[in-house]
Assembly symmetry: C2
Homo-oligomer: 135 residues x 2
DNA sequence: TTCTTAAAAGAGAATAATTCTCATTTAAGA
DNA sequence: TCTTAAATGAGAATTATTCTCTTTTAAGAA
């Protein structure tokens, strides 16, 4: 169980009720949009301005507390998992799942140790795996 | 040199001047946004309604003529290259480059032939490689 | 505990990308 | 050439996101 207050404190961010709840939301919802976060907080805790949530999410991304994830929809989603991982995308719906595979990471790391891409320095590699979820 | 008229015809799409130019634009601009396509056409050929361009791009994606590509910005980009490939993303600016690497594709294919992801059928794998371009 | 102040939050207007509606035009086959 | 379903255009509507400016508050100092 993560101590939310401490997480903010370590990043030198003022601990506010709004920030605590946004962080909680991103940790508890899978790949939420800003709108998802707003609903989560309004339903359970208190009213919050949309601009505030957008601002807080942006701040968290800058501080490296959460990550933006890429989708080909026009809505930005966020991810509370920081350790490098990949994503499974449903070709049918909006479902996105995390995919963690350290063996694969090792293979990729090994591969790019030898194969250099000219004029490009790799910081991070993530796979988008598209397909179909079977129920 | 691709025959644009024929490309549309094969997909059973009415051949219109607007569609021809949108297709030309996506082939000639690297990872354009809808706005990029509109500017391209207006500058060189004729005025075109924004809604028309959005509609045409959507139609092309549905017919598999082009692909949407994912970015963590809030703008959708398109890609005229259909053969499976990966993308290099600049962490600094908006630069996106195609990255084609058949050796890597083979390794991934081999890897996932053995390693199955439970309840998921892979259709397509693409890498997002983030990092820094060196001039 | 109270005071101070920079930072954060709130309200709502502004912006920008995208979608929608409906009237008009046009490609393509009869 | 005629017919018609499909495509385009114009602009309004929608929606996600950002911005502005005022008010509130967290946190450290006194």
């Amino acid at each position: 169980m993560i101590n939310l207050k401490n997480t903010l404190f370590e990043k030198k961010l003022k601990v506010t009720p709004q920030r605590l709840k946004v962080l909680e939301a991103v940790y508890n919802i899978s790949h939420p949009t800003a709108e998802d976060v707003i609903k989560y907080i309004r339903k359970r805790y208190f009213d919050i301005a949309t601009g505030t949530v957008y601002k807080i999410l942006e701040t968290f991304v800058e501080k490296g507390l959460i990550k933006k994830i890429t989708t080909d929809k026009d809505i930005i989603r966020y991810d509370g998992i920081l350790k490098p991982h990949h994503h499974l995308y449903s070709l049918e719906g909006n479902l996105i799942k995390d995919y963690i595979d350290e063996e694969l990471d090792k293979i990729l790391q090994e591969y790019f140790k030898h194969k250099k891409i000219s004029d490009f320095e790799i910081t991070e590699i993530s796979l988008q795996i598209k397909g179909k979820f079977n129920k």
